[in-house]
Homo-oligomer: 525 residues x 2
Amino acid sequence: MKRISIYDSTLRDGAQAQGISYSVEDKLKIVRRLDALGVDYIEAGNPGSNPKDLEFFERVKALSLGHSRLIAFGATRKVGVDVADDSNVMSLLRAGTSAVAIFGKSWDYQVTEILRTTLDENLRMIGDTIRYLKQQGKEVVYDAEHFFDGYKANADYALQTLTAAAEAGADCLCLCDTNGGTFPGEIFDVTARVKALFPVTIGIHCHNDCELAVANSIMAVQAGATQVQGTLNGIGERCGNANLCSIIPNLQLKLGFDCIAAASMEQLTSVARAVSDIANMTHNEKAAYVGGDAFAHKGGMHIDAVVKNPVSYEHIDPERVGNARRTLISEVAGRSMLMTRINAVDPTLGKDAPETQKIVARLKELEHEGYQFETAESSFELVVRKLLGKFKPFFELKEFKVVVVEPSVNGVNSSATIRISVGEQEEVSSAEGDGPVNALDKAVRKALERFYPEISEIRLTDYKVRVLDSDQATAARVRVLIESTDHRENWTTIGVSTDIIDASWRALVDSIEYKLMREQERKVV
Amino acid sequence: MKRISIYDSTLRDGAQAQGISYSVEDKLKIVRRLDALGVDYIEAGNPGSNPKDLEFFERVKALSLGHSRLIAFGATRKVGVDVADDSNVMSLLRAGTSAVAIFGKSWDYQVTEILRTTLDENLRMIGDTIRYLKQQGKEVVYDAEHFFDGYKANADYALQTLTAAAEAGADCLCLCDTNGGTFPGEIFDVTARVKALFPVTIGIHCHNDCELAVANSIMAVQAGATQVQGTLNGIGERCGNANLCSIIPNLQLKLGFDCIAAASMEQLTSVARAVSDIANMTHNEKAAYVGGDAFAHKGGMHIDAVVKNPVSYEHIDPERVGNARRTLISEVAGRSMLMTRINAVDPTLGKDAPETQKIVARLKELEHEGYQFETAESSFELVVRKLLGKFKPFFELKEFKVVVVEPSVNGVNSSATIRISVGEQEEVSSAEGDGPVNALDKAVRKALERFYPEISEIRLTDYKVRVLDSDQATAARVRVLIESTDHRENWTTIGVSTDIIDASWRALVDSIEYKLMREQERKVV
């Protein structure tokens, strides 16, 4: 199996993405995850352009990495400056990594119009910088910026820049599609030509501006590149960088290349999710391999076929990348999947049991009202348990009243008062909030915490509203989905009503009931 | 320029995506957008498996489409059934479209293990169904499900299924990578072989499970396919379908194929956003070509270079797809689109007028708060008029109070009281409703009707809610879109707030103000 080295730039090029701003702590956490995953290189910062990165390189020395090598990234020396006097190159050395990456210009137009220097001086800038860093004992990766655009404009000059880097001792020549505008066939042809000319490692660095970065990276490998640069979840400037979460399994599970340890592959989904969390980005649930929907099946016919044999609608076994199959409950879903879910609550029930009939009838009713249990699996479980008498209510709502006023008073426009009972005891509480639902949420928690302190562990992480039959305008029914977590588990609940507050209330109650039920089960076990 | 026909399945295969559930109204709106964009085929439903789709096909007949042909989609006849007795095939005919798509099995394993019939019967199912539909005068697209997996398992049988379809008269053989597990090189080779064997149109239908669907579609075209199936924004089951928003500009702007009218290309971004809105999905801002970040520049060095010459870090001019560079102009739309809209209010304003600058600055502020004017053009017009002093307020809100109680009293749980002034006069009124927004809507109309009887003509036809920053849970900001009509005109307005009632109120006020403004203009003219 041919070995492909994986070069991660989540912390450097990924930091160019809109909305990304890592703390030093964030970066250290991501380094640990990347090392556990087993990538070969972690490009972790640009100390010349970002002084905060020097603090990171200082602190990262305390981590003992099992597999990955850290890389500090920077530019070639400036026009007309001696390398040893170039402040960026000096910052690069100060990072203290054994390997460095240097980027330089390949495109004649960029040299003369953006750098505003001569083509010859650019060649010297590349050669001088790499030669100097090799003399300091560094492993040097040379990133040829805009290589493919440069090659199309002036192939001869683009190749001269690579020659300058190779002759100075670069260990790897990495070809960059900086603007992301190149197509798979071109990537293949140009990479194959470069591979034939230079006896060093060839790398590939793609951007996703044409939604082709994964394909382009793979084509380059098929043309002879043996280092792939990218980021986890494809984060990066504009449309993002080449997504290593797709490239690694594509190369290793589908094409037989060797990228990371086989055991690490099963961590891929959890590493991808952790990085989304740390970077404070919404994880892309539609992502190949590592998205929550990647192996989710909805159509009844598809679900029946997947139950017969997963290969019907799955290109790989989801467990190989640490993901899982999900079958979504919906009006089009098959009976067999429904039974799997019902049997999770009561394994003794058969397809034709009267209890099963009752559940199916109730589900149809609820779906007719606008409920949808595709994602709201916890509400589904509560419906089944209630129908089977396997749920004992934890509290009862006596009444609530929510008031919204305009103009707001002292910056607050919403308040809620609620009365509930737990067994024989009643509790009344009030709260103000950002909007009526927030006020109601706070009031019910306040009322219940006395009886169930574990409620304080619930954190609502997502709140979605969908208007059904929206042509009924403001009298339309709305469907509310709430996602909750307690750092042990995530769960999703649903409520439907013509009144958004009532719909939110139902989803909120389900979320609380689900939490209390799980806590009770834990105590029993 | 070689012509490639674009076949959109946003409404059919796209509806398999998790969380998608279109109303008939939603579907009609999307059809109008797709037709304006100029796709050749709109696969709009599966009347056999979803009876609601028949209602859609009935209603869509009232639209007169300028370019697109509608397609009803269904399966080959069932095992051992005569075509004329097959209920699915009959539903397909009932849809009344001039073109239909039929899918059948190509993979021997799927025939024997999932369909549980013989390989010969499967060939007859394909042939019989297509022959019957051709006799009914239909244009027939044959979707060869799992074609690439089938070809790898048993090329001979996979080709026999195509022969059965071609001999029965299929107008197009569409090769499907149903599980999304095939690689660009394989797609090219297999498509080229099929193209050489069959003298009919060859189509390609890819899924994105390896993040390769766009590349695979393009490779198939380069191998001779002339029909591309996909969905807008790539929506679809699991990781989605091939994304037409990337494929169309890739083929037309970069590779020189002819897909849609050149003028329509500039609508691509706004159509993509409108479809996200109608489907109530968060638009992917990282999307190639049509994402808000696709031409956003963050790194200072990059911005400087882009200012010197955009080709430095942009693979195409964003205005060619109706998108905009983010560092220089408003996020809402390209400068030319913005000027068109501003000039609709005041034709004398130039690009560099101080009033224009003021409008752009205000738009950026509003967009930062979560406003989006892609569909809410009437709110946009009101913003511009107010800034230019071309709007005289019709009324002023003094206060409102909305109360929601549970349990409801006599079946009513929401009431609203409102006080407004018109000139020197004040008016107070109250109303009950289905939910707080409905109550407020009724109350404000009651209060205003005395002054502006034409308000009774306003009918709210659509009401949508999107939660922004949804990780803030019940304290999240919400964006409300309201569509209104008075049987002369339709208009859309927007409101954003952390409080859903406040957001709804803002959209409602805009709707009323827009109506009154139009009435006033009519009287003046």
